[in-house]
């Protein structure tokens, strides 16, 4: 571990991903859950970049670029859904948004 390698990147990636996952599991605010999903996507990018760096490949960076583009698209649609939800149900609490279950 004294030389920088993909292992470091993978550890950081795992930590960020799991923090994001715990956030998705425990939080009640739709917007915070949304941020946690962004955090998880970003964690995946870290490991891709780490592999690209260790293996002298650019494919990992290209994948990360696509992930960023898709995260942007997801953000736009997700926030549109949040806006529509709050207009209809007037809340951002995930526990109160259960019309589909009832």
């Amino acid at each position: 571990m004294s030389e920088l390698s993909a292992t470091h990147f993978l550890l950081l990636s795992a930590a960020l991903f799991i923090i994001g996952m715990v956030g998705v599991l425990t939080r009640r605010n739709v917007l915070v859950i949304f941020m946690c999903i962004e955090l998880m996507l970003n964690a995946v990018n870290v490991s891709l970049i780490g592999f690209a760096w260790e293996l002298h490949q650019l494919t990992g960076q290209v994948f990360a670029l696509f992930v960023i583009a898709i995260a942007a698209a997801e953000a736009v649609v997700g926030l549109g859904i949040v806006m529509a939800l709050t207009r209809r149900a007037d809340t951002v609490d995930i526990d109160e948004l259960r019309q589909l279950r009832e």
Partner: protein
């Protein structure tokens, strides 16, 4: 220990602290600040891994666009009444924490025991420098090998844009008309826009011929002088008697 490892751990520490802030903070704006902190440090880590272009794209797209959008929506949606201010769900928090810690331990063990190594590719620091830096190299790969995916990404972004417009559009036609009227008459951010309920218009009896219907539901009242309708003050708050 090499200097780059030290720099890496420093950046990683701050980015993990930011990520913890996202999960722990009760106010979503504070969560967003933590997220930006985490993203900026991850961008710096990309610089350590010689991915300059991606580092800048990370800052522009994630920190500059996505999170600003999230903050924007957070401000538009209920600034006062937030779910977490009414308490958390302890059972759910405990389950999440246990699952998270278990998964973290498992993944860490797997990473540290990693035996599989891939074959190194052609893009060493020298070859990247020979084609003119990270951006040129990435461009060459992106627009030769990944031509079809990038076109598809463009289509995806277009679809997302249209989807967002459809989702964010007010649902009822009347509501849409009201929004259009509000946009056309007063500036967007006027503190007392037309969305306030219409105060009841008190008209003097027997003079109804002077009231003419106009477009948009608000009648036009013809008056010779401003003092003719003293029931409705021209300035100040409307108070029903």
């Amino acid at each position: 220990m090499a200097l780059s490892v030290l720099v890496f751990w420093l950046l990683a520490l701050v980015s993990i602290l930011g990520a913890l802030g996202v999960v722990v903070a009760r106010n979503p704006i504070h969560s967003a600040i933590g997220l930006v902190l985490s993203f900026l440090n991850v961008a710096a880590i990309y610089l350590v891994a010689r991915a300059e272009f991606l580092a800048v794209v990370q800052v522009i797209v994630y920190a500059g666009a996505v999170i600003v959008l999230v903050v924007f929506v957070t401000m538009l949606v209920h600034p006062d009444d937030l779910p977490e201010f009414h308490g958390r769900r302890p059972l759910r928090v405990a389950t999440g924490l246990i699952l998270g810690i278990a998964l973290l331990a498992e993944v860490t063990a797997a990473i540290l025991a990693r035996g599989l190594r891939g074959a190194p590719g052609p893009w060493t620091e020298e070859t990247v420098a020979a084609v003119g830096g990270n951006t040129s190299a990435l461009g060459q790969v992106l627009y030769s090998e990944f031509m079809l995916p990038i076109q598809l990404t463009a289509v995806l972004l277009l679809a997302a844009t249209i989807g967002a417009i459809v989702l964010a559009r007010p649902e009822a036609v009347s509501e849409r008309l009201a929004v259009a009227r509000r946009l056309l008459t007063i500036s967007l951010a006027h503190p007392r826009g037309l969305d306030q309920p219409e105060p009841p218009l008190a008209l003097p009896a027997g003079r109804d011929e002077r009231v003419k219907p106009a477009g948009g539901g608000r009648p036009i009242v013809l008056a010779r002088s401003a003092d003719e309708f003293t029931e409705r003050p021209a300035w100040g708050e409307w108070r029903p008697r």
